[in-house]
Symmetry: C2
Subunit: 284 residues, 2 copies
């Protein structure tokens, strides 16, 4: 499949979509739009940008597939902004980390003339900006596609195919299922890592110089953009609170077992954790 | 400095000590002893083993520096076993992750004839066994050296020099300071990662296939050896409980802020975490 592709508000993920599409030849034409004029100026020098118009409305004109790569709180506003400028039958997707509201409002905004199908590739970095994007970012990574019951089936299939063509592994789930899953496997780890660093920040600052690989790895994502994560937590608040509460219960049970010197119980929980981790699929 | 070196009960760390000492020429002779006969048979084929005697007592004969690389609950028993076989003035150290009890009992066991000075290199892996050891494991890594007030000063200096010669960055602290520090920067992250995996193990097992880099990194150490960690938690129980309780308070404050939609407070904590993580020194 080779589509006329438009990417709006590229950050790390949007830049990677463009680079991957160019490298793999999955787009016949790549149009990119960024909000800031100086970003557009820089983008015009990039080999993965065929055109960089001054407005989002202009950028989506004639596009078959539009990827909105903005932070989660900007996706619906941008969808509303471009809605009346889309070609009939155009497909709009996004890369936001929360899907419930975005999928519903995106679908409602476009109606039947064009098709909104939400996406969320499980790829990224604690770094931000399209400069850090990579054409290999989606390789073997789960890419969620989150249709609603009323979604246009060929549009859903096109979005699934798009992520597969970029090297990803598409998984189709409902927006609400998606939000429950990522609350556990992405948002909870982020909250825990940030809390760990916020806690250690109260202690002797020299300690961080002693960190081995364990602390380094468990806290890498704490370096992520706080504003980006604040909006993700805001949009997925209920699911995150539920997962966090259950994790706190798990931690309290472990605290009690250590406190009670119940070493068989402590060992059993460490073993359960190891068994789970050992079964992660390799990202070959 | 080139010493006659003996390594007892090599695992990942002991194997790495031997490989690093051989590569860097910091040992004139490397004698290794392992408890299991089949391990000794295999070790005899390794280029970093000059001799592999059948007993620990024989292995320490004439050694200037003995490194006990056994799990924390085996270090004091092995020290007792070898005590009367050490050369006068011999230095004994270890690589255990907890130091209070080991440093005190080790020192008491050897008395004045030989010198026990505890060590703990902040290096390792979720993997175990000397086969996975590496001569670069200690490069730029903090190596704690934990003398007591009564420790023999030249012996302390020799242990500091030993780790520096292997590429590490020695840091001298008291055994109790050490245990407080690692409860926070090593044992707490381990407990959190294991608890996260033990918690997720109760959910849909398919979810783990969707994991991005965030969950992978935050949980890597959950794959560590549960028996090894059980003994570490047992020996550093009080410090770990204190650090864990304070972390639980941090998490509860963050839970409350999310629950109350206090987004400035949530953002402030994410920012504090990022500021802390951004200042980790690079492991160049």
């Amino acid at each position: 499949m080779s589509v006329s592709l438009t990417i709006l508000a590229p950050g790390l993920l949007g830049g990677s979509v463009a680079k991957a599409a160019r490298t793999r030849g999955t787009a016949s034409r790549i149009v990119v739009w960024a909000r800031r004029a100086e970003s557009r100026l820089k983008l015009r020098d990039e080999p993965w940008c065929d055109a960089v118009p001054d407005t989002a409305e202009e950028a989506v004109r004639g596009a078959q597939l539009v990827v909105i790569a903005a932070p989660v709180d900007r996706i619906v506003p941008i969808t509303q902004q471009i809605a009346s400028h889309l070609a009939p039958g155009a497909i709009v997707t996004d890369v936001g980390s929360v899907k419930g509201e975005i999928a519903r409002l995106g679908h409602a905004t476009l109606g039947e003339r064009a098709h909104f199908v939400g996406s969320h590739p499980m790829a990224g970095s604690e770094k931000t900006g399209w400069e850090h994007g990579s054409s290999d970012l989606f390789l073997h990574r789960t890419c969620f596609v989150t249709p609603l019951p009323g979604s246009h089936e060929p549009a859903v299939e096109a979005v699934v195919r798009f992520w597969r063509d970029l090297g990803g592994e598409p998984v189709t789930v409902s927006p609400d299922q998606h939000d429950e899953i990522v609350a556990h496997i992405s948002h909870l780890p982020q909250v825990l890592a940030s809390a760990l660093c916020a806690f250690l920040a109260k202690k002797d600052p020299a300690w961080r110089n002693y960190a081995g690989g364990g602390l380094r790895d468990t806290t890498r994502i704490a370096a992520s953009d706080p504003q980006l994560w604040r909006t993700i937590i805001e949009q997925n608040r209920d699911e995150i609170l539920r997962a966090l509460r259950q994790y706190q219960d798990e931690l309290q049970t472990l605290h009690a077992a250590i406190s009670n010197r119940d070493w068989p119980e402590v060992t059993a929980r460490l073993e359960r954790g190891k068994a789970y981790r050992d079964q992660f699929r390799p990202l070959a």
